[in-house]
């Protein structure tokens, strides 16, 4: 080879108390290469890139950047060496404009006018048009990501690390992003692309390194490997696709018509004139980019936000004015997205958390007096039926891993024999095996005659389980369509296309 690879990692190991996050991980990224880092949640991808970016110090192992030893003590040193990172969670101030946000992240920001000109120039050169003087609070998720990417590009990086960049984008926005990344690659910039979405990796990446439980378990050329093979490398076992049985779809059980509500939170999205019906045995998938009214829709269905009485009807009965417990008594149950603090109380035990929604339907209270024995039994039943890994029901909810707590939260509702179950992001941050188990539980529930509304940002998940698909976009819901004959493009358009983001020419 004429010149050494850009970055070589060899034998990187990092242990935290009780868990080895990275165990002898090695990989090589060449100049101008798009390298995928593939793995489930908890496989050690984040720890690995944090070591490259100088946020975490490895216990042992070495990194070499263009043939010289590379040991960043902090992100500033990494940036000085030409390494930039776009995080999954944006660190932007809503009240400031784009240029101000970018200036905040710079060591020596140039005068605002020069910076704005630079932002315009770079953003147009890479096909990510962006007005430097717009307020970040008004931008869509895709546009916010552009701010983060341009912030990185202004440093003229040699290696750009991107952590799950497509999780907040519509398919159309993903395509725009990919064009940018390909252009960067053609200019010799290397990209380390972290994802668990296999089709994206096959479309974009030259090489892939697969991590499982902190270990490097394989490398491949994604274009030449099937998604299924990669998935099995990633999960370590043969992947079980949830089984779908043909179901009879019964009469309409939940009917929402003309529903409009303001969001209770300042940065929330109001729901505008929503119509939807769900039948017994049906799974309705609701897609959309985060922040388009998903939380509000769940709250409206769970009873946390009350509406005009006949805007929400259950089995013909107006329930819009009912609170959460009255709806539970009828069989309308919900599992919110935020596990800690919304679906579960972090510092309370699993027994107490079982009581949180289970009191009415499971008979865990009598005349207001709690039956702790029954609550503990219910918690144990959930733990057993949903394979929740925990020493026991006396443990605090926050001591569980995200996936385990999610299984507990979903299990708690599923085991209460709902007539209608509404879930928001049921498998967010959950490993593939647990995600498959949760999806299977939802399918089984529908097969048993319940109606399921699954709100999710994971389109693959929605396509896998839903009968009908609708999308939320700025608080409006598209008309539901049968999921089977939808193309990715159509789904993207239902989700709002590219949200008015322009493509550079």
């Amino acid at each position: 080879m004429s010149h050494p690879p850009l970055l070589t990692l060899s034998g990187l190991t990092k242990a935290y108390p009780g868990v080895v996050a990275n165990d002898q991980v090695s990989l090589t990224i060449g100049e101008g290469e798009v390298h995928a880092l593939l793995g489930e949640n908890g496989a050690g991808k984040s720890t690995l890139v944090k070591m490259i970016y100088g946020l975490v110090k490895p216990d042992s192992g070495t990194m070499t950047l263009r043939g010289t030893p590379y040991e960043p003590g902090e992100p500033r040193e990494a940036r000085a060496d030409g390494i930039a990172m776009v995080f999954q969670h944006f660190s932007l101030f809503d009240a400031l404009n784009v240029a101000e946000n970018i200036a905040l992240g710079m060591e020596n920001p140039p005068p605002m006018r020069d910076l704005a000109a630079r932002i315009r120039e770079v953003s147009e050169a890479y096909g990510l048009p962006l007005d430097p003087f717009r307020t970040v609070g008004d931008l869509s998720a895709g546009e916010r990501q552009r701010v983060e990417i341009i912030r990185c590009l202004l440093q003229d990086p040699k290696l750009l690390i991107m952590d799950e960049p497509t999780s907040v984008l519509t398919p159309q926005e993903v395509e725009i992003l990919f064009q940018t990344l390909r252009k960067l690659k053609s200019e010799g910039t290397s990209i380390l692309y972290i994802s668990h979405k296999l089709e994206e990796i096959r479309a974009l990446c030259d090489h892939a390194t697969i991590l499982r439980l902190g270990k490097n378990v394989g490398e491949c050329v994604p274009a030449e490997t099937s998604a299924r093979d990669m998935a099995e490398l990633m999960v370590g076992t043969t992947l079980q696709t949830p089984e779908r049985h043909a179901r009879d779809v019964g009469e309409v059980i939940l009917d929402i018509s003309g529903l409009s509500v303001a969001s209770p939170s300042e940065f929330g999205t109001a729901l505008k004139n929503l119509h939807l019906t769900v039948r017994r045995g049906e799974i309705l998938g609701i897609g959309g980019v985060a922040g388009n009214g998903q939380d509000e829709l769940l709250s409206v269905l769970s009873g946390e936000i009350t509406t005009a009485a006949d805007a929400v009807k259950f089995d013909g009965k107006a329930i819009g004015q009912m609170g959460p417990n009255a709806r539970r008594a009828l069989g309308v149950l919900a599992a919110p997205e935020e596990r800690l603090g919304h679906a579960a109380a972090p510092d309370m035990s699993l027994t107490e958390n079982a009581l949180l929604t289970g009191a009415a339907r499971e008979g865990l209270a009598q005349n207001g007096f709690l039956k702790w024995g029954a609550a503990k039994e219910f918690a144990e039943t959930i733990i057993k039926a949903f394979d929740v890994r925990t020493p026991g029901p006396a443990n605090a909810a926050r001591s569980l891993s995200g996936g385990n707590l999610q299984k507990f939260v979903i299990g708690r509702e599923v085991l209460q024999r709902p007539e209608v179950l509404v879930v928001n992001q049921p498998t967010w941050g959950v490993d593939a095996a647990a995600a498959a188990a949760i999806r299977q539980a939802l399918l089984d529930l529908a097969a048993g005659g319940a109606a399921v509304i699954c709100i999710s940002q994971d389109l693959d998940e929605l396509m896998e389980i839903s009968d009908n698909f609708a999308a939320l976009n700025e608080g409006r819901l598209s008309a539901p369509r049968p999921a089977v004959d939808l193309t990715v493009d159509e789904i993207g358009l239902m989700m709002g296309g590219s949200h008015g983001m322009e493509v550079a020419h």
């Binding site: 919110p336 709690l370 926050r398």
Partner: protein, 360 residues
Amino acid sequence: MIRLEKRPQPSRAWSLATPLVAVLATMLFGGVLFAVLGKDPVEAIRTIFWEPLFGEFAFYYRPQLLVKGAPLVLIAIGLSLGFRAGIWNIGAEGQYIIGALTGAGVGLAFYPMEAFYIFPLMVLAGALGGWAWAMIPAILKTRFGTNEILVSLMLVYVAEQLLASMSLGLLKNPEGFGFPGSRNLQQYDSAHNAELIAGTGMHWGVVAALIAVIFAYVLLNRHMLGFQIRLTGEAPRAAKFAGVNPPRLILFCLGISGALAGLAGLFEVAGPAGQVSIDFNVGYGFTAIIVAFLGRLHPVGILLAGGLMALTYIGGDIAQGNLGLPAAAIQVFQGMLLFFLLALDLLTNYRIAIGKPEAA
């Protein structure tokens, strides 16, 4: 470098140990303070903690312990329910005053009639008075979203003015030679909250405090409402999801803390204090906030904390008298106790780690 790491589970051992460690640390640093003031620290600490219980004049001080501890515990129990749910009633002192005024007012209205039902009516009136005073911040909060901390606190000063006005006007003793203050209820049998067993300090207020402790314990541990209170304090969003109605909870928590404070005021005015006077209130309502936190918002803890607080008050008085310690030093000593307790409380949820910080 020393830093704090969040524990995966709250430590049970530490949550039990912190009050003890806090008391020990207070003794240690309080001792240093007393030594700097030129007093023998061992003698001072002994005077504060030992003298009231086992000293030469303990027969006099022990009943005082109940007399001072009961209102503290009664008020603190009520406050702790709200504090658990994140509802901050800072105005128990005002509710205490109003409870004393309404309760004493009912008693005095019957004077000089003697009947068995007068005292129970006074108890009811005292509780209602405190409740009504607490309903002002409660309704303002649920209706208009005002801050209950400010409203309840400011109402204390309104109540104090009302107390002064009553002592000088409506409730003034017509046979009192023009002195401010009401008739002495201790001399009016039907209205007197007398000692149940002479010489012990045990009056109806002590009984009420004990009942309140048991009631709060059962409520918090066995009842849905108590569960909702704890849930609201720990995770308000989860509480809403669980079907808690926040305005109702605010009305309940402020109402019960006001009623208990009002009861404490009535038992005090009809018993140890004896009459409505300008300087009737001595700060029980504020000290009860400290007692509630010192007892870690747990009913049994509050019972113990109320006893401890009463002990430092009485012991502090003795130390002032016998050793010439300044009153300010005693107050600093009591402040230290709260400071150490709250500071050490951190160790229940965090552990101290020594080493280089690192992003997880």
